[in-house]
């Protein structure tokens, strides 16, 4: 894993392959700290899978609530991938600690803040039930699909760089989508997130 040194945001941008990122994110816990608003750019779907799978496998047994908002694979595909990696999907779904959602209607129909409202309700549960926290992986692909880049930027900028509670959001972008942004927009996103993870 390399830390960029030629970038003004170097202390907050981390590059690595999916295994390195997954391991660092999960085992060393240096990337996803409580309250973090993270930008994740993944170069292919398998990399994204590796990260959410390792994270879910490690954190769900530790009383974390995990939400996976998917864009380029169906809810059932995500379930199957988690099952194959040893996650007891049915148990966590029944407990209400694992949520796998289609991100597109979440972001586009309910408005960007529909998913945000849901996150706040989960945080209430965290406090009530004494859980560790909430981690939210949300794929932003639908904003690109519907060419709503301005709405995407507004949504991202409406979220703080660091939350005051135990929420962690991982705003996830397929590299092919992220590359559609102007350089200035990318820089705004790097600047606005607590940490940025670029999976190569």
């Amino acid at each position: 894993m390399k830390i960029l040194t030629d970038n003004p945001y170097s202390d907050r941008i981390v590059r690595g392959n999916s295994l390195e990122i997954a391991e660092t994110t999960v085992k060393k816990k240096i990337l996803i700290e409580p309250g973090s608003h993270i930008l994740l750019v993944y170069n292919d779907l398998n990399a994204f899978r590796e990260i959410y799978t390792q994270y879910s496998r490690a954190l769900l047994p530790q009383n974390e609530i995990v939400v996976i908002g998917t864009q380029y694979e169906t809810v059932n595909e995500v379930k199957n991938i988690l099952r194959l990696s040893g996650v007891d999907v049915e148990r966590y779904l029944n407990e209400g600690t694992l949520f796998i959602l289609d991100a597109q209607p979440g972001y586009q129909d309910a408005g960007s803040h529909g998913m945000w409202k849901f996150a706040r309700s989960l945080l209430s549960r965290v406090k009530r039930e004494g859980r560790r926290g909430v981690t939210w992986f949300g794929d932003a692909g639908s904003f690109f699909s519907f060419e709503k880049i301005e709405e995407l930027m507004q949504y991202e900028l409406s979220l703080p760089q660091k939350y005051e509670d135990t929420l962690k959001t991982v705003c996830s972008y397929h590299l092919k989508d992220f590359e559609q942004l102007k350089e200035s927009q990318k820089q705004i996103l790097f600047d606005h997130h607590f940490k940025s993870i670029l999976v190569e």
């Binding site: 692909g141 699909s145 590359e179």
Partner: protein, 194 residues
């Protein structure tokens, strides 16, 4: 994992799960080559390679198939070719658009996945309709199709049909033939009016 699972779902429908499909497939492919002959590599799925139908007859129409899952491109291309279509398959929608631009008069219908990173089915629809408003576009999705989902973002660019994955080749063939038939009738009427 997903790729294999989706292929299994498609192949299951295609080869065994649906007798109607199987009979249709057999009845329309007396001279079909072996399955091995029809298998293409993933690189081939990114480029048009063999634009002939298996029976050598005049093709029903030329189709552009686009899906970021190479397995789906493979199965659709094979099935539709064996049902009498010329079919080009692409996993990269930008390459598909380039092929469309280069062969704009020859494509009758674009069959595209709705959700693809880099260039979505909606964006691709808009671009191909700008180039040729007469071309038919069918979007495929494995997700639930909600009525207002696309109309909100495509008010002036009509998607001609939606297909819920997985779909049998017979149903897909019928849908394509129906759309192409409408298109041909409309163009004949336009010529007559002139």
């Amino acid at each position: 994992v997903s790729s294999s699972a989706s292929l299994a779902a498609w192949v299951g429908l295609f080869l065994s799960g649906n007798n109607d499909d199987e009979n249709f497939y057999r009845n329309n492919n007396n001279n079909a080559s072996s399955a091995d002959d029809a298998i293409i590599s993933q690189q081939d799925a990114g480029n048009p390679y063999n634009n002939t139908t298996n029976d050598g007859d005049k093709p029903l129409a030329r189709l552009l198939i686009v899906d970021d899952d190479p397995d789906i491109v493979h199965v659709l291309k094979r099935g539709l070719q064996q049902n009498g279509f010329l079919a080009d398959g692409f996993t990269n929608p930008k390459q598909a658009l380039q092929s469309f631009k280069s062969n704009v008069e020859t494509y009758s219908l674009v069959l595209s996945d709705a959700r693809m990173p880099g260039l979505s089915g909606i964006q691709l629809t808009r671009k191909v309709k700008e180039i040729n408003p007469h071309v038919k576009v069918v979007l495929m999705t494995a997700f639930e199709i909600r009525d207002n989902e696309f109309s909100k973002v495509l008010p002036s660019t009509q998607v001609d049909g939606f297909v819920q994955k997985p779909v049998g080749i017979r149903d897909l063939t019928n849908k394509i033939l129906s759309l192409i038939g409408q298109s041909k009738r409309r163009r004949r009427n336009e010529d007559f009016d002139r």
